[in-house]
């Protein structure tokens, strides 16, 4: 399916199929340290995903059970034998995993529970099944209930098996409806081989493709569960971890194609949408999608007026070379060599203690500008922006944000302009407010009235200050990055506009 330009824009980003598959491949590739952009230090913290270890034999058993009109729920085929019911040869030997009879209520349930994913834990095993109920006159009680269940270790991360179980069930349901595949004793006999093959392939290759007949194939693949991406903000700056030109093709979402050239590690999300002339909301969706698949990482806007300081992760940076951690990136050696190469702008490399010294001399209350003047001599071979960015990406440096806060002279309490700014849930468009839209202000106060649990001060100020919407940002919850990108003003301009008010600046 090739998306057309108009439909692409309205589609959910979660449906970007070609993109999804290509970046997923990319994610896999990254695990093997191939195809990644050599330029960008890929952050090992970002890649939570651990691929299924091939040969781990996660699936302990697959069995096919159904409701027999005479004998009740019973297991017809199980791989391996004797897993959940005693095999015919040795009826006295108890099953190795658990007893099917104990759990049959949950495997072959009442009709109301069919067509739902059911899991059950027993004996430290987790059983995943998707019972199917078919109604037809040809069946003994006018209905036929069956279930293909997969058994895993209880502690196994099982989310990727859920769609597999479901798909398997739906497939056999279709086969049964089409040709009575399971009811017919002849075709049924191939089930054992099929589930044996499925189990073997999924355990070994995490996917399988087994043809059943000319029109049906068992096509299964285990996809990893990836944590949802963090909320993208206008002031976030994306940096690519991949070479987009090598994986992007014309099937990609149009907005995506437009914005990608502007992802350069300098532009903020807001700026990217402007430069690409793309809708801001769509841009954010795209960024969010890229983030989800690990194609980008997010940093803050770099300015020489920013303040940075080391955090508790510094130890890992220093200690990385010791080889004790398995997270060393890239084939090019440890984190420290990576750093040396990344920060240099002349090709001359600083020795590590000098780098460490430079990082640790960044501290609270000291802007990068001041810092680089102090260390001008040692920094002459260093690209300061890349120096800072490396620390941020690797997580041992943190940005100290500056928050303007307006205090009420009389009480010393933070003067807040209505609760709308504290509660992001309000539908007030702050950008519109910045342009002085009156009705939006009214909306804000209305929302405040409804939600105003935390609002006892400053309600009087609300009326007076509607003319200066900037004040809404001064409750301490907004730092300058956020204010400046929202209002599209520089920090200086913002500060100038605030000159008349008692402002405290908090660095955090």
């Amino acid at each position: 399916m090739v998306p057309t330009s108009t439909s692409t824009h309205s589609r959910q980003p979660s449906r970007l199929t070609p993109f999804q598959s290509s970046v997923l491949q990319n994610r896999r590739a990254q695990e093997h340290h191939a195809e990644t952009s050599a330029d960008i230090p890929g952050s090992s913290r970002i890649y939570h995903w651990i691929p299924q270890e091939p040969g781990k034999m996660s699936i302990k058993c697959i069995f096919y059970s159904y409701f027999d009109a005479d004998k009740g729920p019973r297991v017809l085929y199980q791989v391996p034998e004797n897993s959940v019911t005693p095999s015919a040869d040795t009826p006295s030997v108890p099953p190795t995993l658990f007893s099917f009879d104990e759990l049959s209520d949950y495997i072959i349930p009442k009709q109301q529970l069919c067509d739902r994913l059911i899991t059950f834990c027993r004996n430290r095993y987790r059983l995943l099944g998707y019972p199917i109920c078919l109604e037809d006159d040809k069946y003994d009680r006018n209905e036929f209930i069956f279930n293909f269940a997969i058994v895993l270790d209880e502690s196994e991360e099982f989310s990727s098996y859920k769609p597999v179980v479901k798909k398997l069930a739906r497939l056999f349901k279709a086969l049964e409806e089409q040709m009575g595949f399971l009811w017919n004793e002849v075709t049924r006999s191939s089930v054992y081989t099929l589930i044996e093959q499925v189990m073997e392939d999924l355990n070994s290759y995490c996917e399988c493709m087994i043809p059943i007949n000319e029109s049906n194939t068992i096509n299964l693949k285990l996809f990893p569960a990836i944590p949802p991406p963090p909320p993208v903000k206008a002031y976030h700056v994306p940096i690519s971890t991949v070479r987009f030109e090598s994986i992007m093709d014309s099937n990609w979402d149009l907005t995506m194609q437009r914005i990608i050239p502007f992802i350069d590690g300098v532009n903020s999300v807001r700026r990217i949408s402007e430069l690409a002339d793309a809708d801001y909301t769509l841009t954010k969706k795209c960024i969010s999608e890229l983030l989800y698949y690990g194609c980008i990482i997010i940093v803050d806007v770099f300015r020489f007026a920013n303040i940075y300081a080391v955090n508790s992760e510094l130890y890992n940076f220093v200690n990385d070379g010791a080889g004790s951690t398995g997270t060393a990136t890239g084939g090019g050696g440890g984190l420290q060599e990576e750093c040396q190469a990344y920060i240099s702008n002349t090709g001359r490399l600083l020795d590590f203690p000098a780098i460490l010294d430079l990082y640790t001399s960044l501290r609270q209350g000291l802007t990068v500008g001041e810092w680089s003047t102090e260390n001008a001599e040692r920094l002459k071979d260093v690209d300061v922006r890349r120096f800072i960015q490396f620390g941020i990406i690797k997580g041992f440096l943190y940005r100290v944000h500056k928050y303007p806060v307006r205090i009420d002279d009389g009480t010393g309490v933070v003067a807040s302009v209505g609760p709308a700014n504290a509660l992001a849930g309000s539908s007030v468009d702050l950008h519109a407010l910045a342009l002085g839209a009156q009705e939006a202000g009214q909306g804000g106060s209305l929302v405040g009235g409804k939600m105003g649990k935390s609002m006892t001060t400053g309600s009087g100020i609300l009326m007076a200050d509607r003319s200066l919407p900037l004040l809404r940002y001064l409750d301490g919850a907004h730092h300058f990055d956020s204010i400046c990108t929202d209002l599209q003003q520089s920090e200086k301009e913002v500060l100038k506009n605030l000159a008349a008010y008692p402002i405290e600046l908090i660095d955090r």
């Binding site: 994913l117 949802p228 976030h236 969010s288 510094l314 020795d351 000291l366 806060v405």
Partner: protein
């Protein structure tokens, strides 16, 4: 993979159900909340801690929610949604939904919705849906009887963990069956120690009720039995409330008449909806709660048929209500009024789903349950990780609720307790509920004596430079025990004692969204001090000792009180100093030279071994490649080294290093020459793969072996230095007075970037002055880093 995320409390609790089985079969007797929403917990896979989730915030001000219990659940949902994505940029609203849909589960659930509607429609049953009386016919989208059948499990599955999921609802519980003869009473236990008072017995009843008829799955709460006092206050993994919450009821031992109960089974089912990636941790946490609650009920059931009576009562009320045509709301409030079990289930749901401590009372038995939460973290979440605003930041391994391996026994006496609630409130709670045993008196006294500025060691002996108490000191053990108890029940957190000479900075994890409300509280508490934003602004600049902000000595106490308050709410954190050991090039050259000399001297007896080593080093197939990289590197560094001489250096360094390591061993540890020979001949010849030490090759060694170049470097772990590193370290102190050398040898292990300098003097029981002298003397070789 889920550890970071699990820092954020997310109970994912949808509902709690009471299912029984009697002669009439299985029955879903009660569920709470009346109309559970399966999706509610699902969406809160959080990027941010909701303020309401931390217990101590609710007590702080009038700003906290005043909503009454009835709409608490709904209210909570909306609030948490707001906070999760709380940016303040209203245009982001529309994106919120799309972001949620990104989660794996969500997506599949959407797909499911597209494909099959039958059950989903039922999930949305609202008040107006359906005719009166049928409101509770469906629970969580299941028909009442289907759910009852599903959860009244067969006897074979009893007494073990029950975990069933149907689509996105997970049912978790610990089904309890009566004995085969239909009774619930335990066999009379003979093994109770006579020494125990009534308190101990009460304790044991709660704890060991399952001991004789439960399988191994029952975690041994019996462990607490050893010490009656300890049992009375035991906290971890036990259903005990803090002493403040527990009421001792001296109950006459009941006459046990083994009449069979009508009740065959009861099953408290916790319905959950955890985010898929947090599935295992969330289920694990809840199972602890579920099992403890079930066990408490089982004790009451075996005592006087409590669960059976309550279930009967609830069913009667429901029947009456159904006849009268009561609304669900009316019916549920009547049930909660009249049945203590229903009330306990409701209270449990309310508290646990809000990540609070549940104070429960069933059949006059008081106890408390909670899912323990993290009170501090060492890692500041990055911009793309779930945020933990307000959580205290520290790398110090302070005292946890239970003794654990990560703790540093030498440091624990030097921590202090920082209360997270008003001390008076804690004591009031305690006194209200307690009978005046001596233990409680000392507990109260301990709480009163605790100061955030005074460490435990100082509490014991108030001299300024008190040495650490012996860990076996019984008095100290009580202190530690009390402290852990308070920490477990979220009343306090252990910190490095506050001191005006220490550095405090605005915590990068401070919850700025609470600034408005907290500044009002602050203004009320400290009217004479600068307002909160002003204080934070002061603390924002270049780090300075806290004393720099205190205008005069008279203000000190007030400022320290304020500091404690700022620490309590995570506004500030203690800036600590960490040190790394740097080895400059000249030291390395000196060491190499000396080793060469020593090598020459040792040549007579070592000649055999040296030849072998050197030959192997030269024959090492890697040599040519290494050399070329070294040339490249030297060019890159701008140092022009003629090729030939480089070759010489290369060869020499190889030999000296490979032999040097061994000769160094012989220096530091007296050995016979013979064993040295065997050592070096049996181990691998090349330095890069030399396994003579257990430490894996450090980058320096890699660097050296690959380039032969000597560069400044940092020793990563001086406590496990390689022989070569030890030689360097030894060399660093050359020319220093002997006392400095001795002290430095003792302290060098702390220069690894993990031990706060602030703790060293305490841990090693040396004076701060001495420490300062050593560090100053060695200043050239130390890189300092400051963080929390």
């Amino acid at each position: 993979m889920t550890t970071e995320r699990s820092l954020i409390p997310n109970p994912s609790l949808v509902a709690i159900l009471l299912v029984i089985r009697d002669s009439a079969g299985g029955n879903l007797v009660f569920h709470y909340p009346p109309q559970p929403r399966a999706e509610a917990a699902h969406n809160t896979s959080s990027w941010r801690i909701g303020e309401t989730n931390t217990d101590y915030t609710s007590s702080n001000s009038s700003f906290s929610s005043s909503s009454d219990d009835d709409d608490e659940a709904d209210d909570r949902k909306s609030r948490s949604t707001v906070r999760l994505y709380g940016g303040g940029i209203a245009t982001e609203r529309s994106v919120v939904t799309s972001q949620r849909s990104r989660s794996y589960d969500q997506r599949s659930s959407r797909r499911r919705r597209d494909s099959d509607h039958e059950y989903d429609e039922e999930e949305d049953d609202d008040d107006e849906a359906g005719e009166a009386g049928a409101e509770w016919e469906h629970v969580l989208g299941f028909r009442h009887d289907v759910l009852a059948g599903l959860l009244s499990v067969p006897r074979a599955l009893a007494k073990s963990r029950f975990e069933l999921s149907v689509d996105h609802s997970v049912f978790l519980g610990y089904p309890c069956y009566s004995r085969v003869d239909g009774t619930w009473q335990r066999k009379k236990k003979e093994r109770k120690p006579k020494s125990e008072g009534p308190k101990g017995e009460e304790e044991k009843e709660a704890h060991t009720s399952d001991a004789d008829n439960d399988d191994d799955d029952a975690k041994g709460n019996d462990a607490d039995d050893e010490d009656p006092d300890a049992a009375a206050l035991s906290r971890s993994k036990s259903p005990n409330p803090p002493p403040s919450e527990r009421k001792k009821i001296k109950r006459e031992p009941r006459k046990i008449d083994p009449t069979p109960s009508k009740l065959a089974m009861f099953h408290i089912v916790f319905v959950m909806n955890p985010p898929q990636l947090e599935y295992h941790t969330r289920m694990h946490d809840m199972y602890d709660v579920a099992k403890q609650f079930t066990m408490a009920l089982k004790t009451q059931q075996s005592d006087d048929d409590y669960v059976a009576r309550e279930a009967e009562k609830i069913l009667e009320i429901r029947e009456r209500g159904e006849k009268r045509g009561d609304s669900m709301h009316e019916l549920w409030s009547r049930i909660l009024r009249e049945s203590t079990l229903a009330a306990a289930i409701a209270a449990l749901y309310q508290s646990i789903s809000a990540s609070k401590i549940a104070h429960l009372k069933v059949n006059d038995f008081d106890f408390a349950l909670q899912i323990p939460i993290m009170l501090e973290t060492s890692v500041l979440p990055s911009i793309s990780e779930p945020q933990l605003p307000g959580m205290h930041l520290t790398t110090l391994r302070t005292i946890g609720p239970t003794p654990n391996e990560g703790e540093d026994a030498l440091m624990t006496p030097h921590f202090a307790l920082l209360f997270l609630e008003d001390v008076d409130d804690i004591i009031k709670e305690l006194i209200l509920d307690q009978d005046q045993s001596s233990l409680n008196a000392s507990f109260v006294q301990f709480i009163q004596n605790c100061r955030p500025t005074v460490s435990f060691a100082q509490m014991l002996s108030p001299t300024p430079d008190a040495s650490a108490p012996h860990p076996e000191n019984p008095e100290y053990q009580y202190i530690e025990y009390f402290a852990r108890h308070l920490i477990y029940w979220r009343k306090a957190r252990a910190i490095l004692p506050l001191h005006y000479r220490r550095y405090y900075i605005v915590s990068p994890n401070a919850d700025m969204k609470r600034l408005v409300s907290q500044s009002a509280v602050f203004a009320r508490l400290f009217p004479a001090l600068p307002p909160l934003p002003k204080m934070l602004s002061l603390l924002s600049g270049k780090p300075r000792p806290y004393s720099a902000y205190i205008p005069s000595k008279d203000h000190r106490q007030a400022y320290m009180d304020m500091l404690a308050w700022l620490m309590r709410y995570g506004w500030v954190t203690n800036l600590l100093t960490f040190a790394y050991l740097k080895i400059p090039k000249d030291i390395k050259i000196a060491v190499r030279e000396r080793q060469k000399r020593e090598q020459a001297e040792a040549a007579v007896e070592m000649i055999q071994a040296a030849t072998v080593g050197a030959a192997a080093a030269v024959n090492n197939g890697n040599s040519p490649r290494m050399m070329s990289t070294s040339v490249e590197k030297s060019i890159a560094n701008g140092t022009v080294i003629p090729n030939a001489s480089l070759r010489e250096i290369e060869e020499e360094s190889k030999i000296s290093v490979s032999a040097g390591g061994d000769s160094n061993i012989s220096n530091s540890r007296p050995r016979t020459g013979w064993s040295d020979v065997t050592d070096s001949s049996t181990t691998a010849p090349s330095r890069s793969t030399n396994p003579t030490t257990n430490t894996p090759g450090t980058p320096f060694e890699k660097m050296e072996s690959s380039s032969g170049q000597l560069e400044d470097s940092v020793v990563y772990d001086p406590s496990r230095a390689t022989p070569l590193e030890s030689a360097w370290i030894e060399r660093l102190t050359e020319g220093q007075p002997p006392d400095i050398v001795a002290l430095f040898d003792r302290l060098v292990k702390y220069l690894d970037g993990r031990h706060a300098i602030e703790c060293i003097a305490l841990r090693e029981a040396i004076s701060k002055k001495e420490l300062k002298r050593v560090l100053n003397a060695m200043d050239r070789y130390i890189v300092y880093a400051r963080h929390w």
